[in-house]
Amino acid sequence: MAEPARAKPKPTPETQHFWDGTAAGELRLQRCDACANVYFPPRPFCPSCASRKVSVFKASGKARLYSYVINHRPAAPGFTPPYAIAVVELDEGPRMMSNIIDCPQTPEALELDMKLEVAFEKLDDKITLPQFRPAKG
């Protein structure tokens, strides 16, 4: 029997650009053309001023570690505990959930506010997840 698979996102019309972006190696955010608000998760209007004039842009991929847990039990299908579930704060402002890769999954290694950079983990031809790793240098 195959290993249980990790939960896989299914894009909607409003989020397709984000998942197209990660598949192309880009972290894409949206900015309001009217009030310059940068927001996440994706939607075709500005949650700050309600303008429908919004643009997609490529984010820097730079972030810092905002908070996390190291999950021991129960583990989600497709995950080997212990693993960190993190919330990262992007340099552009929005926060997103992610995992921290290329880093020991320990409180000592996972220091709040540590600098991170985006990495891309391909699940299949359609879905690539945005992940974060400690920033180099």
């Binding site: 990790r6 939960a7 896989k8 996102p9 299914k10 894009p11 909607t12 989020t15 998942w19 996440f40 998760p41 905002y66 908070s67 996390y68 847990v69 190291i70 999950n71 021991h72 039990r73 129960p74 583990a75 989600a76 299908p77 497709g78 995950f79 212990p82 693993y83 579930i85 993190a86 919330v87 926060r95 997103m96 959930m97 992610s98 995992n99 409180p107 709040l112 699940l123 997840l129």
Partner: protein, 379 residues
């Protein structure tokens, strides 16, 4: 809403709490409802309003044989029942109905007739949280706590004390699931669930239910039980995604609902004799004390660690033992309300002497929603 226009005249939990393998989830609703109706000295036909969460109002109304003219199916997680109380009070005052039954029950442990909880892969949670390994509340609810601790200088030992103090309250309560005393060392050495939280900082998983009956204050004096009046109410929602909270230093749902209730009640924090803060996990009482304005967040850990919320302390908190030690069937808000009502009636197992004002604060989802009810036994 005007103060003290509506009262709780019936309140009861399921006959048993804990592990109830001989009842399905809707029967647990019915068991609690029948107990509350008996407590109020009413007949089923007297009920003209119904509110419930997770299960639909039509399910519970039909199962009980109730023909309502007012219905509320607000389902925002464990604080849904605080919102039901608020909505029911407004509806009774507006004359939409006279006698409202609010029910909760969950076969959280035995899982009999329990509705499945799932996250569709094309929902926002399914796209932007599930792929990163969240799996149930213990992997999500504690995510803000490390940030909160860093911002305010809260220690692991202080948060462990939340569980220790609540076990002291539970020891006084014959119906509490966990009664044996525990120490900070016990908490910090218990099984790791999701760092920084260990099993003694996570809620229990049990079966049970509860029900409330509300009517106008004018009618309340004709009922067999001492009326418990609704003095103030508040509610709000923020986000279903814990990762998208405005900040992890506070809950916007808390800072909206709590102060709204205090303002409506027209009371100051020093007037509060008894406090319930829904404790699905051990950090919630700290968030609650800060966000409801009892003290700055920086002081919340020390306040609990120094014993101010324990039996005999100046602010009795979670006096039934809470979700950590009393019971937690999945949506604990109903049990917090039941304990506030018992305290206001003067019949709680760990009764706070001469308590006149009780604040009952609930959370739904992972800080997704909040409801606050302030009760009094004086009109």
């Amino acid at each position: 809403m005007r103060r003290n226009q509506v009262a709780v005249v019936g309140a009861a939990e399921t006959t048993e709490l804990g592990v109830i393998p001989n009842m399905s989830q809707i029967q647990l609703h019915a068991d609690a409802a029948l107990n509350a109706i008996a407590d109020a000295g009413l007949k089923l036909s007297d009920i003209d309003g119904i509110a419930t969460a997770v299960e639909t109002p039509q399910q519970i109304a039909h199962y009980l044989g109730i023909k309502p003219t007012w219905v509320d199916g607000t389902s925002v997680g464990g604080c849904s029942f605080m919102l039901h109380v608020r909505h029911a009070a407004a509806a009774i005052e507006a004359g939409l109905c006279k006698t409202v039954l609010i029910t909760h029950a969950e076969s959280g442990k035995s899982m009999i007739g329990k509705l499945p909880r799932s996250t569709p892969p094309d929902s926002l949670n399914g796209q932007f949280e599930s792929p990163f390994g969240v799996f149930g509340p213990p992997s999500m609810f504690p995510i803000p706590v490390l940030r909160y601790m860093k911002t305010y200088g809260i220690t692991h030992e202080q948060i462990a004390m939340v569980a220790v103090v609540q076990r002291e309250w539970a020891a006084k309560n014959p119906r509490a699931t966990m009664k044996a005393p525990i120490t900070v060392e016990d908490v910090l050495n218990s099984k790791m669930i999701a760092y920084p939280f260990r099993i003694l900082q996570c809620c229990l998983v049990t079966d049970g239910g509860g029900a409330l009956i509300l009517t106008s204050a004018g009618r309340a004096k004709d009922f067999p039980q001492k009326p418990v009046y609704i003095l103030g109410t508040g509610e709000s929602v923020e986000t279903p995604m814990v990762s998208q909270m405005e900040t992890f230093n506070s809950s916007r749902a808390f800072t909206t609902a709590g102060p709204l209730a205090f303002k409506e009640a027209g009371i100051a924090h020093k007037d509060v004799d008894h406090l319930m803060i829904y404790d699905a996990f051990a950090h919630l009482p700290l968030f609650g004390l800060g966000d409801l304005g009892f003290m700055p967040h920086e002081e919340t850990g020390r306040f609990i660690a120094e014993g101010n919320t324990r039996p005999g302390g100046k602010l009795p908190l979670n006096t039934n033992g809470g979700g950590l030690s009393y019971m937690h069937s999945g949506m604990y808000g109903m049990y917090a309300l039941q304990e506030s009502v018992r305290q206001m009636r003067g019949i709680a197992p760990a009764q706070v002497k001469d308590a006149r004002i009780s604040v009952c604060h609930g959370v739904g989802g992972m800080f997704a929603a909040s409801g606050t009810i302030i009760f009094t036994n004086e009109k």
